[in-house]
Symmetry: C2
Subunit: 500 residues, 2 copies
Amino acid sequence: MTAKYDIFEASFAGPASGNPYLEVSFDAVFAQHSREVRVPGFYDGDGTYRVRFMPDHEGEWTFRTRSKTAALDGKTGSFAVTAARPGQHGPVAVKNKFHFAHADGTPYVPFGTTCYAWTHQPLAMQAETLETLGKAKFNKIRMGVFPKDYPFNTNEPLQDVYLPGADGKLDFDRPNPQAFQHFERQVGKLRDMGIEADLIIFHPYDRWGYSNMSAEQDFRYVAYLAARLSAYSNVWWALANEYDFLLDTKPVAQWDRYFHILEENDPYGHLKSIHNGDQSMNFDHRKAWVSHVCIQNWDVKRTPEWREQYGKPVVNDEPEYEGNIWPSWGNITAQELTHRFWTTVMRGGYAGHGETYADPDDLIWWAKGGKLHGEAWKRIGFLRSIVEEDARDGLTPMGHNAAWPWSRISGARDGKVSYIYFGEHQPNQWTTGLPREDGNFEVDLIDTWAMTVTPAKRIAALVPHPTRHGEVVRGGKPDAAFGVELPSRPYLALRIRQLD
Amino acid sequence: MTAKYDIFEASFAGPASGNPYLEVSFDAVFAQHSREVRVPGFYDGDGTYRVRFMPDHEGEWTFRTRSKTAALDGKTGSFAVTAARPGQHGPVAVKNKFHFAHADGTPYVPFGTTCYAWTHQPLAMQAETLETLGKAKFNKIRMGVFPKDYPFNTNEPLQDVYLPGADGKLDFDRPNPQAFQHFERQVGKLRDMGIEADLIIFHPYDRWGYSNMSAEQDFRYVAYLAARLSAYSNVWWALANEYDFLLDTKPVAQWDRYFHILEENDPYGHLKSIHNGDQSMNFDHRKAWVSHVCIQNWDVKRTPEWREQYGKPVVNDEPEYEGNIWPSWGNITAQELTHRFWTTVMRGGYAGHGETYADPDDLIWWAKGGKLHGEAWKRIGFLRSIVEEDARDGLTPMGHNAAWPWSRISGARDGKVSYIYFGEHQPNQWTTGLPREDGNFEVDLIDTWAMTVTPAKRIAALVPHPTRHGEVVRGGKPDAAFGVELPSRPYLALRIRQLD
């Protein structure tokens, strides 16, 4: 018995000699009624072959394996799929063009963090990371399959991802099953905590050779990941972190091929994107095989531009990190990161968290996990709870083409709720963007830093002095039914709920 | 006797009947040795005609008038020009492509403010404005020739700029000499205080009809301004504030014509630019008749882009204003405006100040002058004093094409001094951009808000862990001879002076 969106796994004995990774292939066709789903299998070492399937419908399923290797061909079985466990809403997909939802329709509003190499740290630290994640409110984590070699990241990984060859060097034709078993165990724990695992497949922070495998080795690796991990409902595919720093050896066509290999081998079509280093080097996210925009960009007020440019959900996974290390992507204040989250979300996008405070032992959340030391993560959790209270179809930014005043301040609507986020602006009153018609509205003032929500004081709508200038929008008539008095300090937001 | 860069004026009696503004023209040719300068004259009412000349060379000058009107033709005279008064450095022009200097070579580093309609307020308030300017350290002010009708600007002007016609309405073929006499008196006071008068010729904030004159009336008005005001050494021509809000009646070709009329009638070629409303509506500042870039844009980290786009000095006259009024261009915090000034200047541009705190009587600095109530103006004065201490050729931003880390933090060099401004970044140490060679350097830590300068604590240059990632710039070698310890708080800058 398998619950919907959990994993059904079947294993088979097969050849253990030679190099099964190169020489043996098999898959299985899972069937329910007239529906058939092809699922690739993989070699898990010690003569064991496995196939994993994530059913998305309850009821009876059957399967039959296919292989040129007799021991793995024509194996059949059946199993029952029960209702999903509580809290298991299924994989996340794009919904409403710019937003996300789980397979069961539950809105998914990403508030992610970043611990690139947490699964490669000592086990006690990995446990601490999970404990911290249990307290924070992140529902996505960016994490690499490979370990990381980089400033502040000089320790050896817990395990090598490939086995050593005869020369003692890693043999990129022999994956290390134990390393992957550990990795997917951690992905499974995240799944059970309700956290999406945004898996970074390639990155350039490397001294072991992972970033310099041959194209063929890369292709096999991507297919292997798809076979091993696709059945985890919380998987997202991040083709790369900073793909542009790998362009010298992996041209764009090769990146496209990785996407296609995932399309061919991930039966569930998990979300797929790819992250840039240089701000001017966004991948062409318009390509059909890119499900959403993943970028690194500090200029978060431009979020609506990226929505328009790509026509897909925008996840700005690196609007810079809270911290004080020397790299300038990793040393903004907690206030600034909180501000960038609010700005991004209130312009119809999604942002990602990272924390990079200098540590005498280089134990920094962003790469290794462990403990959080900063202040932004709490405010991001607060923002998540605010947005999720009313989440329905996703937030659409107010204004159009950065129209006044929405190029300067931020505002967005989702169904019967709208928000206005003032950020560094501190008006003493506000009218624009409030409801145009009288009605039963609840208007709250949100202090994004103090994390408080209090009723806002309503006042008469502003009637600007009529002038030739801008007359179309505020020519002597109020553009809303009422106004709100504000306390002339920054980092405030309004929430306007229609109660009918 | 006239001092160099001051005004020599000659006046003549001529026809007072009919409409001399339309019917009489005259100019004078001023000569020294083989040099001749054509200077247009103007009618100043009551049968009086004047011609004003700003000599730029000492010694004897002569002039001869020319007119089809006999009374104004062939008048001659001569006068001696002495050395410039102390503090009078002559008109400002572009120097070193992206910067400015006075005619005598003194660097001019603009730190401007904005009081659109200060010359149209009651005289006591005008005196207060001048008193405030005497305490602040602004060296440029944006000010309109016409009065202003706009939110918070509903009072009547001190004088009409044109005389009433028979129907009691303003006759845009009859300038009011007294209004212009007053205006230029105030321009002269600013000149004597060392403040450039950035004169806004057209703007859309109007209920009197000034923004709806005919094209011919506009052309005559621009020529009249040139004749009256060009001899003031501190004049800059701002063709418009928010020209794009006037495009419905004044197409781009007409704006070009205004520029050309100034070229034809301003013998000194004062600086000329034009200011936009919508951030996407920058004028094409590449045109030969635009001397420098004047823009309104909050996204000040993009300053180097505008330098590259236009190849001229960039003056961002509206990076939003400090205040708390409801329009969102006028309600950022003092901290934020100070931050935008530092960011702009440390990326090779120039910024403009405005202050817009709500006032029960709508007495707001940005439009009316009077008193300053905020906090940014002091910090801007501090920034000016910092930059002027070492100003030589102007600041060139570090990095190129927004290279790492200079897209995130700001830094600039001018001769033997360089600055690094961290803004919202708070690294605990810094190396990049510090001197590459050992030498006699003085390194100071500047707190841009507290306005303090203290010696920075030097430490060993950072030697980053070598990685494939970004190896070119920081592949295991320090990129400077030493590093600096920093206190992990925002809004700090470093100043590095080479003492040899």
